[in-house]
Amino acid sequence: MSNTKLNIAIAEKSELVTSGLTIMLNSIGASVACVVSDIGELRHYFNKVSIYVVFVNPVLLINKTEEFNKIRNEFVDISWIAINHSSVPIEQITAFAAEISIYISRVRLQQILSETVSKDNSVTYDTDTLLSERESEVLRFLAEGNSNKEIADIMNISIHTVITHRKNITQKTGIKSQSGLTIYAISKRIIDIKSI
């Protein structure tokens, strides 16, 4: 894990939550670069400081899906962690790398942060990338729900070639089913979870 101080942004309206979270993050060696109450304000900071993680209250994303997606696509290296105020886990799958409850302990917070960040590092500096560029493309379309025939049409190749690519992907990863390959694709950031 990098030795530079981890820069974090918080998008949350409650001052109670933001002060508490800031104190906890500081105590584990992370630095809070900014606190915003509207996700639109984040862009301003992203352009100024290298921010790696954003803690966001999902309530701030209501009716802001388009804006949120634009920001995510523009700043792909940022991990988003949801702050869950209720005792019910956030059920729907969104763009969040993880979620924290407001009852989280310092230790658990540290664990989640290091998981999230090390995951990103390993993806950026992944020297074990397995798949060729073409194979990654096929995988991406597959994970998005396309059939072999559809993939062949999109990529302008024969269906036979698609099948060969799939065989190679399975041989390299050990995964055969479309849903299994989707999970692989997400873990390698080949696709974003919103596109499935």
Partner: protein, 234 residues
């Protein structure tokens, strides 16, 4: 493994390879075994020892399987064995795997973990449908073939061998995918203990499922084909 014969004690078999406890359990042969031999236990439980030895031989992948002619009672034994496997999967294995996944969901907050949960739910649905198909269509069909004179028209039954085999492949594939995902790609650091438990659980399940599939493919389906061809002889 090819020196298994009917005078071997059950206990020695199990001490040789603990998996036999499960196989014996699927035959409804219970512990404690005392000093009983395979022969004694089979006779007590109205099982043809040849059938038992046939199944035990499935362990040895080098051994080719020649299916002897099986009587109606033997076929009944085979189907009862397979039915016990189903119970084992549905009542024991899948609930315990599901419990591990539920526990992992707590320790592992990643989005990939949520997809693994969905993946497993889909897998269970597929398996349950497959087991249902076997219980409701395949086994009754086989019984009807045994009992019939020249009455049963096999095209009336919904059973199809190729369909049947396809189901197997899909299900095996998903289980293997799950293993690979857990071992290689699912991110997470705090879930090592439960992940290990889950993986062991899956390996155990896969082992029994492989034997189960071998029985279906190498014993059951040939029986069906034999019985079907007998019909058309007249």
């Amino acid at each position: 493994m090819n020196n298994i014969h009917r005078d071997i004690k059950l206990a020695d078999l199990v001490l040789l390879d603990h998996y036999y406890v499960l196989m014996l359990s699927h035959f409804n042969i219970h512990m404690p075994y005392g000093d009983k031999t395979i022969d004694t236990a089979c006779i007590e439980n109205k099982i043809n020892p040849e059938v038992f030895l046939l199944f035990a031989g499935l362990f040895d992948s080098n051994q080719s399987i020649t299916v002897p002619d099986l009587s109606e009672e033997d076929i009944s034994t085979v189907i009862s064995y397979l039915g016990n496997c189903h119970k084992y999967y549905l009542e024991e294995k899948y609930p315990s795997i599901k419990a591990s996944i539920d526990q992992m969901m707590i320790d592992n907050g990643s989005r990939e973990m949520k997809l693994v949960d969905v993946f497993f739910k889909e897998y269970i649905n597929e398996v349950s449908a497959h087991l249902d198909y076997e219980n409701k269509i395949v086994y009754p069909y086989i019984y009807s073939l045994c009992n019939s004179k020249n009455e049963v028209n096999s095209s009336e039954s919904e059973f199809s061998v190729s369909n049947y085999k396809d189901h197997h492949d899909d299900i095996e594939e998903k289980l293997s995918d799950l293993k690979n995902i857990l071992i290689k790609y699912l991110p997470g650091d705090n879930d090592q203990q439960i992940r290990r438990k889950l993986i062991f659980n899956l390996f155990e399940l896969e082992f029994d499922l492989n034997i189960h599939t071998k029985i279906e493919d190498n014993i059951l389906i040939p029986i069906v084909e034999k019985l079907e061809s007998k019909e058309y002889r007249v």
